[in-house]
Symmetry: C2
Subunit: 216 residues, 2 copies
Protein backbone atom coordinates (compact mmCIF):
# COMPACT_ATOMS: atom_id res chain seq x y z
CA UNK A 1 0.00 0.00 0.00
CA UNK A 2 1.97 3.03 1.19
CA UNK A 3 5.72 2.80 0.70
CA UNK A 4 7.38 1.56 3.88
CA UNK A 5 9.62 4.61 4.05
CA UNK A 6 9.46 8.40 4.02
CA UNK A 7 9.68 10.76 1.06
CA UNK A 8 11.63 13.99 1.14
CA UNK A 9 8.63 15.95 2.37
CA UNK A 10 7.25 13.37 4.80
CA UNK A 11 10.50 12.51 6.55
CA UNK A 12 10.47 13.44 10.25
CA UNK A 13 13.66 15.23 11.32
CA UNK A 14 13.11 15.72 15.05
CA UNK A 15 12.40 12.98 17.61
CA UNK A 16 13.01 10.37 14.92
CA UNK A 17 12.39 7.70 17.58
CA UNK A 18 8.72 8.73 17.39
CA UNK A 19 8.44 8.35 13.60
CA UNK A 20 6.86 5.57 11.54
CA UNK A 21 6.00 5.28 7.86
CA UNK A 22 4.65 1.74 7.44
CA UNK A 23 1.13 1.23 6.16
CA UNK A 24 -0.03 -0.78 9.19
CA UNK A 25 0.86 2.01 11.62
CA UNK A 26 -0.77 4.61 9.34
CA UNK A 27 -3.95 2.48 9.24
CA UNK A 28 -3.95 1.97 12.99
CA UNK A 29 -3.89 5.72 13.66
CA UNK A 30 -6.56 6.40 11.01
CA UNK A 31 -8.71 3.69 12.58
CA UNK A 32 -8.29 5.21 16.05
CA UNK A 33 -9.05 8.79 14.96
CA UNK A 34 -12.46 10.37 14.42
CA UNK A 35 -11.84 13.51 12.38
CA UNK A 36 -9.16 14.75 9.99
CA UNK A 37 -7.93 18.33 9.94
CA UNK A 38 -7.70 19.06 6.23
CA UNK A 39 -5.47 21.86 4.97
CA UNK A 40 -5.62 23.51 1.57
CA UNK A 41 -4.34 26.76 0.10
CA UNK A 42 -7.13 29.26 -0.55
CA UNK A 43 -6.38 32.72 -1.96
CA UNK A 44 -2.72 32.20 -1.11
CA UNK A 45 -3.36 31.37 2.55
CA UNK A 46 -3.62 28.05 4.39
CA UNK A 47 -7.06 27.01 5.66
CA UNK A 48 -7.58 24.04 7.99
CA UNK A 49 -11.05 22.50 8.42
CA UNK A 50 -12.16 19.45 10.49
CA UNK A 51 -13.86 16.71 8.44
CA UNK A 52 -15.07 13.15 8.75
CA UNK A 53 -13.15 10.57 6.76
CA UNK A 54 -12.63 6.92 5.99
CA UNK A 55 -9.66 4.91 4.86
CA UNK A 56 -10.32 2.34 2.14
CA UNK A 57 -7.25 0.59 0.76
CA UNK A 58 -4.56 3.07 -0.16
CA UNK A 59 -6.81 6.15 -0.11
CA UNK A 60 -8.10 8.55 2.53
CA UNK A 61 -11.62 9.64 1.60
CA UNK A 62 -13.29 12.89 2.66
CA UNK A 63 -17.02 13.37 2.58
CA UNK A 64 -18.86 16.68 2.29
CA UNK A 65 -21.51 18.74 0.61
CA UNK A 66 -21.20 19.76 -3.02
CA UNK A 67 -21.91 23.28 -1.68
CA UNK A 68 -18.88 23.30 0.65
CA UNK A 69 -16.15 25.73 -0.38
CA UNK A 70 -13.48 23.32 0.84
CA UNK A 71 -14.92 20.43 -1.18
CA UNK A 72 -15.30 22.60 -4.28
CA UNK A 73 -11.64 23.58 -3.97
CA UNK A 74 -10.52 19.98 -3.42
CA UNK A 75 -12.36 18.70 -6.50
CA UNK A 76 -10.10 20.79 -8.72
CA UNK A 77 -7.18 18.49 -7.84
CA UNK A 78 -5.15 20.78 -5.59
CA UNK A 79 -2.47 19.76 -3.09
CA UNK A 80 -3.95 18.91 0.32
CA UNK A 81 -2.78 17.78 3.73
CA UNK A 82 -4.95 15.69 6.05
CA UNK A 83 -3.80 15.24 9.64
CA UNK A 84 -5.45 12.90 12.15
CA UNK A 85 -4.42 13.14 15.80
CA UNK A 86 -5.35 10.98 18.77
CA UNK A 87 -4.48 12.44 22.18
CA UNK A 88 -3.50 9.76 24.70
CA UNK A 89 -2.45 11.79 27.71
CA UNK A 90 -0.52 14.54 29.42
CA UNK A 91 3.11 13.83 30.25
CA UNK A 92 4.16 15.76 33.33
CA UNK A 93 7.90 16.09 33.77
CA UNK A 94 9.77 17.62 36.69
CA UNK A 95 10.72 20.60 34.50
CA UNK A 96 8.42 22.85 32.48
CA UNK A 97 10.72 22.30 29.50
CA UNK A 98 10.13 18.55 29.35
CA UNK A 99 6.33 18.67 29.59
CA UNK A 100 4.75 16.96 26.59
CA UNK A 101 1.81 14.83 25.51
CA UNK A 102 1.33 11.22 24.57
CA UNK A 103 -0.30 11.11 21.17
CA UNK A 104 -0.51 9.41 17.79
CA UNK A 105 -0.77 11.49 14.64
CA UNK A 106 -0.62 10.83 10.92
CA UNK A 107 0.13 13.52 8.36
CA UNK A 108 -0.93 12.75 4.78
CA UNK A 109 0.24 14.97 1.93
CA UNK A 110 -1.13 14.44 -1.53
CA UNK A 111 -3.17 15.66 -4.43
CA UNK A 112 -6.93 15.58 -3.98
CA UNK A 113 -9.04 13.72 -6.54
CA UNK A 114 -12.79 13.83 -7.12
CA UNK A 115 -14.38 10.39 -6.75
CA UNK A 116 -16.93 9.86 -9.53
CA UNK A 117 -17.30 6.11 -9.98
CA UNK A 118 -20.66 5.00 -8.52
CA UNK A 119 -19.11 1.75 -7.27
CA UNK A 120 -16.27 3.53 -5.48
CA UNK A 121 -18.73 6.08 -4.09
CA UNK A 122 -21.01 3.36 -2.72
CA UNK A 123 -18.12 1.78 -0.84
CA UNK A 124 -17.03 5.11 0.59
CA UNK A 125 -20.50 6.17 1.79
CA UNK A 126 -20.67 2.99 3.83
CA UNK A 127 -17.07 3.27 5.02
CA UNK A 128 -17.37 6.86 6.26
CA UNK A 129 -20.36 5.99 8.42
CA UNK A 130 -18.93 2.67 9.58
CA UNK A 131 -15.70 4.44 10.54
CA UNK A 132 -17.70 6.69 12.88
CA UNK A 133 -19.83 3.84 14.22
CA UNK A 134 -19.10 0.28 13.06
CA UNK A 135 -21.87 -1.76 11.44
CA UNK A 136 -24.39 1.06 11.62
CA UNK A 137 -24.87 1.71 7.90
CA UNK A 138 -27.21 -1.24 7.38
CA UNK A 139 -29.59 0.01 10.10
CA UNK A 140 -30.37 3.37 8.43
CA UNK A 141 -32.07 4.59 5.28
CA UNK A 142 -29.48 4.64 2.47
CA UNK A 143 -28.98 7.83 0.45
CA UNK A 144 -31.52 8.70 -2.24
CA UNK A 145 -30.40 9.75 -5.72
CA UNK A 146 -30.95 13.37 -4.76
CA UNK A 147 -28.89 12.98 -1.57
CA UNK A 148 -26.12 11.23 -3.51
CA UNK A 149 -26.07 14.15 -5.94
CA UNK A 150 -25.62 16.55 -3.01
CA UNK A 151 -22.64 14.67 -1.59
CA UNK A 152 -19.09 15.01 -2.85
CA UNK A 153 -16.35 12.49 -2.16
CA UNK A 154 -12.67 13.34 -2.40
CA UNK A 155 -9.74 10.92 -2.28
CA UNK A 156 -6.18 11.63 -1.16
CA UNK A 157 -3.58 8.89 -1.76
CA UNK A 158 -1.84 7.55 1.35
CA UNK A 159 1.45 7.28 -0.55
CA UNK A 160 3.03 10.15 1.36
CA UNK A 161 2.07 9.55 4.97
CA UNK A 162 4.07 9.83 8.16
CA UNK A 163 3.17 8.91 11.71
CA UNK A 164 4.53 10.49 14.86
CA UNK A 165 3.76 8.88 18.21
CA UNK A 166 4.81 9.26 21.81
CA UNK A 167 3.90 7.04 24.73
CA UNK A 168 5.17 6.26 28.19
CA UNK A 169 6.53 8.21 31.15
CA UNK A 170 8.19 11.62 31.04
CA UNK A 171 11.80 12.18 30.15
CA UNK A 172 13.61 14.30 32.70
CA UNK A 173 17.12 15.68 32.79
CA UNK A 174 19.31 13.44 35.01
CA UNK A 175 19.97 16.35 37.39
CA UNK A 176 16.20 16.86 37.88
CA UNK A 177 15.47 13.30 39.04
CA UNK A 178 16.29 14.08 42.67
CA UNK A 179 14.01 17.14 42.86
CA UNK A 180 10.97 16.86 45.16
CA UNK A 181 8.59 17.31 42.19
CA UNK A 182 5.85 14.92 41.11
CA UNK A 183 6.21 13.44 37.61
CA UNK A 184 4.11 11.02 35.61
CA UNK A 185 1.29 10.66 33.11
CA UNK A 186 -2.39 11.53 33.10
CA UNK A 187 -4.03 9.21 30.53
CA UNK A 188 -6.80 10.78 28.44
CA UNK A 189 -9.41 8.72 26.62
CA UNK A 190 -12.45 9.69 24.59
CA UNK A 191 -15.36 7.90 26.26
CA UNK A 192 -18.87 7.33 24.89
CA UNK A 193 -21.66 7.79 27.40
CA UNK A 194 -25.19 6.37 27.20
CA UNK A 195 -27.01 7.04 23.92
CA UNK A 196 -29.66 9.78 24.09
CA UNK A 197 -32.72 8.86 22.00
CA UNK A 198 -34.08 11.50 19.64
CA UNK A 199 -37.03 13.27 21.35
CA UNK A 200 -39.18 12.25 18.37
CA UNK A 201 -38.22 8.59 18.56
CA UNK A 202 -41.17 6.19 18.74
CA UNK A 203 -40.98 4.25 21.97
CA UNK A 204 -41.05 0.76 20.51
CA UNK A 205 -37.93 1.29 18.39
CA UNK A 206 -35.04 -0.62 19.93
CA UNK A 207 -31.44 0.54 20.16
CA UNK A 208 -29.54 -1.35 17.42
CA UNK A 209 -26.47 -3.43 18.30
CA UNK A 210 -24.20 -0.89 16.57
CA UNK A 211 -25.30 1.76 19.09
CA UNK A 212 -25.62 -0.52 22.14
CA UNK A 213 -22.13 -1.95 21.59
CA UNK A 214 -20.49 1.29 20.57
CA UNK A 215 -17.19 2.01 22.25
CA UNK A 216 -14.98 4.71 20.92
CA UNK B 1 -10.70 41.85 21.46
CA UNK B 2 -11.70 40.11 18.24
CA UNK B 3 -14.23 41.97 16.14
CA UNK B 4 -17.73 40.72 16.89
CA UNK B 5 -18.33 39.87 13.24
CA UNK B 6 -16.78 37.92 10.38
CA UNK B 7 -14.36 39.12 7.72
CA UNK B 8 -14.63 38.15 4.08
CA UNK B 9 -12.45 35.09 4.55
CA UNK B 10 -13.81 33.97 7.93
CA UNK B 11 -17.51 34.24 7.14
CA UNK B 12 -19.29 30.88 7.27
CA UNK B 13 -21.56 30.31 4.26
CA UNK B 14 -23.16 26.96 5.05
CA UNK B 15 -25.12 26.07 8.20
CA UNK B 16 -24.96 29.71 9.27
CA UNK B 17 -27.04 28.75 12.32
CA UNK B 18 -23.89 27.01 13.59
CA UNK B 19 -21.62 30.06 13.19
CA UNK B 20 -20.31 32.50 15.81
CA UNK B 21 -17.66 35.20 15.70
CA UNK B 22 -17.74 36.80 19.14
CA UNK B 23 -14.62 36.77 21.30
CA UNK B 24 -16.28 34.99 24.23
CA UNK B 25 -17.31 32.02 22.10
CA UNK B 26 -13.86 31.88 20.49
CA UNK B 27 -12.28 31.87 23.98
CA UNK B 28 -14.64 29.18 25.25
CA UNK B 29 -13.68 26.80 22.43
CA UNK B 30 -9.96 27.54 22.85
CA UNK B 31 -10.31 26.89 26.58
CA UNK B 32 -12.06 23.57 25.93
CA UNK B 33 -9.56 22.33 23.32
CA UNK B 34 -6.20 20.69 23.94
CA UNK B 35 -4.31 20.93 20.67
CA UNK B 36 -4.39 23.16 17.60
CA UNK B 37 -3.94 21.85 14.08
CA UNK B 38 -1.68 24.47 12.51
CA UNK B 39 -1.53 24.87 8.74
CA UNK B 40 1.16 26.64 6.75
CA UNK B 41 2.28 26.61 3.13
CA UNK B 42 5.60 24.84 2.65
CA UNK B 43 7.17 24.47 -0.82
CA UNK B 44 3.81 25.42 -2.32
CA UNK B 45 1.85 22.75 -0.47
CA UNK B 46 -0.26 22.88 2.69
CA UNK B 47 1.13 21.16 5.79
CA UNK B 48 -0.94 20.63 8.96
CA UNK B 49 0.75 19.79 12.28
CA UNK B 50 -0.77 19.31 15.77
CA UNK B 51 0.63 21.65 18.43
CA UNK B 52 0.01 22.76 22.01
CA UNK B 53 -1.17 26.32 22.44
CA UNK B 54 -2.46 28.96 24.81
CA UNK B 55 -4.70 31.95 24.40
CA UNK B 56 -3.60 35.13 26.17
CA UNK B 57 -5.66 38.21 25.45
CA UNK B 58 -6.16 38.66 21.72
CA UNK B 59 -3.43 36.25 20.64
CA UNK B 60 -3.13 32.51 20.12
CA UNK B 61 0.36 31.38 21.09
CA UNK B 62 2.15 28.32 19.76
CA UNK B 63 5.10 26.76 21.53
CA UNK B 64 7.81 24.64 19.95
CA UNK B 65 11.47 23.92 19.50
CA UNK B 66 13.73 26.36 17.67
CA UNK B 67 14.77 23.29 15.65
CA UNK B 68 11.23 22.58 14.42
CA UNK B 69 10.74 23.15 10.69
CA UNK B 70 7.22 24.40 11.31
CA UNK B 71 8.35 26.91 13.93
CA UNK B 72 11.24 28.08 11.74
CA UNK B 73 8.76 28.71 8.92
CA UNK B 74 6.30 30.52 11.20
CA UNK B 75 8.95 32.88 12.59
CA UNK B 76 9.38 34.40 9.12
CA UNK B 77 5.90 35.93 9.43
CA UNK B 78 3.97 33.77 6.99
CA UNK B 79 0.18 33.33 6.81
CA UNK B 80 -1.02 30.56 9.09
CA UNK B 81 -4.27 28.89 10.08
CA UNK B 82 -4.82 27.32 13.50
CA UNK B 83 -7.90 25.17 14.02
CA UNK B 84 -9.02 23.78 17.38
CA UNK B 85 -11.80 21.19 17.43
CA UNK B 86 -13.65 19.62 20.34
CA UNK B 87 -15.72 16.54 19.47
CA UNK B 88 -18.87 16.28 21.59
CA UNK B 89 -20.64 13.30 20.08
CA UNK B 90 -22.03 11.30 17.19
CA UNK B 91 -25.42 12.34 15.83
CA UNK B 92 -27.25 9.35 14.41
CA UNK B 93 -30.10 10.23 12.10
CA UNK B 94 -32.59 7.86 10.48
CA UNK B 95 -30.90 8.42 7.10
CA UNK B 96 -27.24 8.01 6.20
CA UNK B 97 -27.37 11.47 4.62
CA UNK B 98 -28.25 13.27 7.87
CA UNK B 99 -25.58 11.62 10.03
CA UNK B 100 -23.33 14.22 11.59
CA UNK B 101 -21.36 15.06 14.70
CA UNK B 102 -21.78 17.43 17.59
CA UNK B 103 -18.65 19.55 17.85
CA UNK B 104 -17.18 22.96 18.53
CA UNK B 105 -14.38 24.27 16.32
CA UNK B 106 -12.59 27.56 15.91
CA UNK B 107 -10.63 28.48 12.78
CA UNK B 108 -8.07 31.28 13.18
CA UNK B 109 -6.46 32.82 10.11
CA UNK B 110 -3.65 35.29 10.52
CA UNK B 111 -0.03 36.17 10.09
CA UNK B 112 2.41 34.49 12.45
CA UNK B 113 4.71 36.66 14.54
CA UNK B 114 7.83 35.65 16.49
CA UNK B 115 7.50 36.51 20.19
CA UNK B 116 10.76 38.01 21.44
CA UNK B 117 9.90 40.13 24.48
CA UNK B 118 11.09 38.30 27.62
CA UNK B 119 8.04 39.54 29.56
CA UNK B 120 5.58 38.27 26.93
CA UNK B 121 7.51 35.00 26.69
CA UNK B 122 7.37 34.47 30.46
CA UNK B 123 3.58 34.86 30.44
CA UNK B 124 3.21 32.47 27.53
CA UNK B 125 5.41 29.71 28.99
CA UNK B 126 3.18 29.66 32.05
CA UNK B 127 -0.01 29.91 30.01
CA UNK B 128 0.81 27.03 27.67
CA UNK B 129 1.40 24.67 30.58
CA UNK B 130 -1.53 25.97 32.61
CA UNK B 131 -3.79 25.52 29.57
CA UNK B 132 -2.86 21.81 29.52
CA UNK B 133 -3.15 21.43 33.29
CA UNK B 134 -4.31 24.39 35.38
CA UNK B 135 -2.13 25.66 38.22
CA UNK B 136 0.64 23.17 37.51
CA UNK B 137 3.39 25.56 36.43
CA UNK B 138 4.29 26.60 39.97
CA UNK B 139 4.90 22.98 41.00
CA UNK B 140 7.68 22.29 38.45
CA UNK B 141 11.20 23.52 37.76
CA UNK B 142 10.97 26.64 35.58
CA UNK B 143 12.95 26.80 32.33
CA UNK B 144 16.68 27.53 32.49
CA UNK B 145 18.28 30.13 30.23
CA UNK B 146 19.47 27.35 27.93
CA UNK B 147 15.97 25.83 27.77
CA UNK B 148 14.44 29.25 27.09
CA UNK B 149 16.88 29.68 24.21
CA UNK B 150 15.74 26.34 22.75
CA UNK B 151 12.06 27.29 22.82
CA UNK B 152 10.34 29.41 20.21
CA UNK B 153 7.03 31.14 20.74
CA UNK B 154 4.81 32.25 17.88
CA UNK B 155 1.74 34.46 18.11
CA UNK B 156 -1.24 34.55 15.74
CA UNK B 157 -3.80 37.36 16.25
CA UNK B 158 -7.36 36.24 16.99
CA UNK B 159 -8.73 39.07 14.85
CA UNK B 160 -9.92 36.72 12.12
CA UNK B 161 -11.56 33.85 13.98
CA UNK B 162 -14.75 31.95 13.33
CA UNK B 163 -16.49 29.31 15.39
CA UNK B 164 -18.72 26.56 14.08
CA UNK B 165 -20.72 24.46 16.56
CA UNK B 166 -23.44 21.86 16.48
CA UNK B 167 -25.28 20.38 19.42
CA UNK B 168 -28.50 18.54 20.08
CA UNK B 169 -30.48 15.75 18.44
CA UNK B 170 -30.38 14.72 14.79
CA UNK B 171 -32.27 16.46 12.04
CA UNK B 172 -34.30 14.06 9.93
CA UNK B 173 -36.39 14.61 6.84
CA UNK B 174 -40.08 14.80 7.83
CA UNK B 175 -40.88 11.72 5.72
CA UNK B 176 -38.23 9.69 7.62
CA UNK B 177 -39.68 10.30 11.09
CA UNK B 178 -42.10 7.37 10.82
CA UNK B 179 -39.42 4.85 9.80
CA UNK B 180 -38.65 2.07 12.31
CA UNK B 181 -35.04 3.28 12.65
CA UNK B 182 -33.30 4.34 15.87
CA UNK B 183 -32.08 7.95 16.01
CA UNK B 184 -30.28 9.93 18.68
CA UNK B 185 -26.92 11.02 20.01
CA UNK B 186 -23.91 9.24 21.47
CA UNK B 187 -22.09 11.80 23.66
CA UNK B 188 -18.28 11.62 23.55
CA UNK B 189 -16.09 13.12 26.25
CA UNK B 190 -12.34 13.10 26.81
CA UNK B 191 -11.86 11.62 30.29
CA UNK B 192 -8.75 11.68 32.45
CA UNK B 193 -8.00 8.46 34.29
CA UNK B 194 -5.85 8.03 37.39
CA UNK B 195 -2.38 9.58 37.18
CA UNK B 196 0.45 7.09 36.61
CA UNK B 197 3.54 8.06 38.63
CA UNK B 198 6.87 8.08 36.81
CA UNK B 199 8.68 4.77 37.55
CA UNK B 200 11.60 6.82 38.90
CA UNK B 201 9.45 8.87 41.26
CA UNK B 202 10.59 8.84 44.87
CA UNK B 203 7.87 7.35 47.03
CA UNK B 204 7.48 10.23 49.46
CA UNK B 205 6.64 12.76 46.74
CA UNK B 206 2.95 13.57 46.92
CA UNK B 207 0.63 14.16 43.99
CA UNK B 208 0.11 17.95 43.72
CA UNK B 209 -3.38 19.44 43.76
CA UNK B 210 -3.09 20.36 40.06
CA UNK B 211 -2.77 16.64 39.22
CA UNK B 212 -5.15 15.29 41.87
CA UNK B 213 -7.90 17.72 40.84
CA UNK B 214 -7.29 17.48 37.09
CA UNK B 215 -10.40 17.03 35.01
CA UNK B 216 -10.24 17.52 31.32
Amino acid sequence: MTPEGPTERTVIHRHTERAAYDSQTVSDVLEAGLIAHVGIIHDGCPVVIPMVYAQVGDTLYLHGSVASRLMRALRTGIPACATVTVVDGLVLARSAFNMTMNYRSVVIQGTARLIESPDERAIVFRSVLDHLIPNHYDTVRPPSDSELAQTMLIGIPLTESSVKMRSGPPYDEPEDLGLPIWAGEIPLTLIASNPIPDPDLEEMIQVPASVANYKY
